[in-house]
Amino acid sequence: MNESPSPVNSTIPDTYFEFVLGYGLLWLILITALLYALLRIHRLTSDLKDLEAAQKNSPSTAATTPHP
């Protein structure tokens, strides 16, 4: 019967699973760290804005702020 010859690179070990696992976990860590950092900055910035707004609206600062 006609059997196709084995490809030249058949000796290369099959390590596809480890390759996907390694790269997958690495990017999972890096993307999680970046997302965590960006979300934290977003939350802190909005908290700061809220606090600044609260300080502006408080009566003690309103008394010292000149009327437009």
Binding site: T15, Y16, R40, I41
Partner: protein, 228 residues
């Protein structure tokens, strides 16, 4: 400025990955898993760089007592943690099909584990002391000392292969070693990963500065409220 640096870094990393996946061939003896080399080694270099940055800032804090140095040291230590975690995960995943085991008490692996544990200890100490305002200064001092101790482990990691003859291969050699294509890809990925580490450190530093500002403003706000 940070946005531009982040975009450039992202582009550099994507180009590096394109080169590794599409332009470089598959290594004959290890197969696809060998491509982990192009992120495992750069992650280790980035861990070194961020640890050095953290230790330098820690030393500056101990000398000048400026809080900004302490914030930078903590930010760089957080980046070092991220990249050390990458090293600690990609290494065993790569080792399993090549060495037949996830972990062996090889000198380089052991010294890397020690530095990873030191990074975790530094962050844990800082976190626990941060909760008590009266102990914050002590926590910063202890964090700075631990950062300097952690950086002393870097030469030990680097020269452990030569000193104790482990099974972990040496990447940087004066003669032989990698082929020119592999070498240039490794260099590109290392530089892009180090840039990513620097971007991450700047972002973490920004978080620390914002946290500090928010804390001061909250105290001021509460004080003003109490006065009324």
């Amino acid at each position: 400025m940070l946005h531009i640096l982040a975009l450039l870094t992202g582009a550099a990393v994507i180009f590096g990955l394109y080169e590794v996946f599409l332009l470089l061939g598959i290594e004959a003896s290890q197969g696809l898993v060998q491509k982990i080399f192009f992120v495992h080694v750069p992650a280790a270099f980035t861990m070194y760089v961020t640890l050095i940055m953290s230790a330098v800032a820690a030393a500056m804090y101990l000398i000048e007592k400026k809080v900004a140095y302490d914030h930078f040291s903590k930010a760089a230590m957080l980046s070092a943690f991220v990249f050390a975690l990458c090293v600690m995960i990609t290494g065993p995943v790569w080792a399993k099909p090549i060495w037949g085991t996830y972990w062996t008490w090889d000198p380089r692996l052991t010294t890397t584990l020690i530095v990873f544990l030191l990074i975790c200890a530094t962050l844990a100490v800082r976190h626990s002391f941060d909760r008590h305002p009266s102990r914050q200064a002590a926590g910063r001092k202890l964090g700075a000392i631990l950062a300097i101790v952690a950086v002393l482990d870097i030469p030990l990691i680097h020269f452990s292969v030569k000193l104790w003859r482990g099974i972990h291969p040496t990447v940087i050699k004066s003669e032989g070693g990698l082929s020119p294509e592999f070498r240039s890809s490794l260099l590109w990925m290392s530089l892009s990963m180090i840039a990513l580490g620097i971007v991450l450190t700047i972002v973490f530093f920004k978080i620390e500065s914002l946290r500090d500002r928010l804390k001061i403003m909250t105290q001021k706000h509460l004080f003003e409220k109490g006065m009324r």
